[in-house]
């Protein structure tokens, strides 16, 4: 499934809405602050496309709410904002660690044969990779089973691609626009110098 144009459109509108919230504060002149503002509003826009149906979108909104609560509240209108922001993060993470440790202890007495070791290594490798995937996908630690994790990853990748496509076209347009202004600004100067 590739990003559709309606998804891109919706993302752009929401992103614009988010950026307008920052417009009165346009005097934050440092580049890093502006970058942060852009990125946060883009993230919230991307997450709000899913309207709280997916786990990663909720986790992403909660993450940005820790950085800029006001933005999130403004961007997500209505009841959704309250429920999403005030929801406490699930405590599944702790349980998984405990379970994993106890499993390790119990596993000490297992018999080893050559083939078993190879298969066990393969299993360990896959487990490591899924843990890495959980670290990358927002809210991954709270996804209890693998089916959910892979589903969320799919959705997250598609949304990321939408975000990247829209942002890239905007950036290209903006940079082209600024180049043009520089060019046009340069012209009269040359005229003056020649004249």
């Amino acid at each position: 499934m590739q990003p559709t144009s309606s998804m891109k459109e919706e993302f752009l509108q929401k992103w614009q809405m988010g950026l307008q919230i920052y417009r009165p504060l346009i005097d934050n002149t440092s580049v890093s602050e502006r970058r942060k503002a852009i990125k946060l509003s883009a993230d919230v826009a991307m997450a709000s496309l899913r309207r709280g149906t997916t786990c990663w979108s909720r986790a992403l909104i909660q993450k940005t709410a820790t950085e800029d609560n006001f933005l999130v509240r403004q961007m997500l209108s209505g009841i959704k904002a309250e429920t999403l922001i005030n929801k406490k993060l699930p405590k599944v993470m702790c349980h998984r660690k405990i379970v994993r440790r106890s499993k390790k202890i119990l596993r000490r007495r297992k018999s080893r044969s050559a083939i078993e070791e190879v298969a066990a290594k393969a299993r360990k490798l896959v487990k490591k990779k899924t843990q890495g995937l959980r670290n990358v996908v927002p809210g991954g630690e709270f996804m209890s089973n693998d089916v959910l994790l892979i589903q969320e990853t799919l959705d997250y990748i598609v949304s990321l691609q939408t975000q990247v496509n829209v942002m890239r076209s905007i950036v290209d347009a903006a940079e082209a626009g600024s180049e043009r202004t520089a060019y046009y600004l340069g012209k009269p100067k040359f005229a003056i110098e020649d004249g």
């Binding site: 499934m1 614009q16 346009i26 990748i157």
Partner: protein, 344 residues
Amino acid sequence: MDLSGRFGARSGDGVPFREVTGLESLHLGGGDEFRQMVPPENGGGFTALLELPPTRAVELLHSSSSSSSQATLHSLGTLTFPSNPILMERASRFSVIATEQNPNGNISGETTTSSVPSNEHIKTEPAETETSDQAAVEKQNNRCGKRKDFDKKVKSSTKKKSKSSEENEKLPYVHVRARRGQATDSHSLAERARREKINARMKLLQELVPGCDKIQGTALVLDEIINHVQSLQRQVEMLSMRLASVNPRIDFNLDTILASENGSLMDGSFNGTTMQLAWPHQVMETEQSYHHRQLQQPPPQQWPFDGLNQPVWGREENQDHGNDHNSLMVGSASLHPNQVKMEL
């Protein structure tokens, strides 16, 4: 996390030497089952055949000749079978020696008929366990040692082969043989369904991430997926950095960016500098009208975003009937304020 369980086991398939051992254990397993199902009678060997009607004997001989290749089962001892021909063929399909015959089969018809329902009942057992065959294999792959698992897995494939070959020779039965040591069905079924779900979604992921179809093995595919997600996230950061480093006036007014692109493509829209002072407040007006319109009811035709895929924005101009005038003004206007700013 059981992704590894499935793929780890699968990697062991196709080892040729195991097939032989698999076959043997296969037959042994089948023989044991049948011993449980049908209590052995005293009649043994070919003497029992003499008591049968000739047609039955011929059938038996045919079945025995076809299954003579599985001579290893002679050592299993005598096994008696009901005289029902359907059950006979079933027995031969189970690749157990089918030459023995129940000596009491012809003596009393009632016993055969009475034994038939029980056998029918027993017959249904394998049918039920058919669906959980694969599940049982997987489940045991998880539990038992790996070598046994490979055996069982190969067993299933060889079993299917032998079954299909026999079916081609004999009858169009659909049953699958039962497995010994079958786990409880609901669990195996659930695990099997879960694993199939995971695999289906992994396939989708592989299609989505470029370059993942050729990769074999879960770990590498997951690696690729992680790299892809990380690269997308990094791209978002880079793009936001680039956008922030552009003129601040522009990056927070996205619609002026879009409009400026529109304006740039139309060369004739660039007016002289005499109108500079008049532009700025007009720019604010048009901007506000844009925002107003967008916040209220963003009609999709205003921003036909097919243009997002390509750098050509001219198409938007043509389609944008209501806003031609405004966008023209804004397009050229966005450049002017900058000009004004810099010159001042």
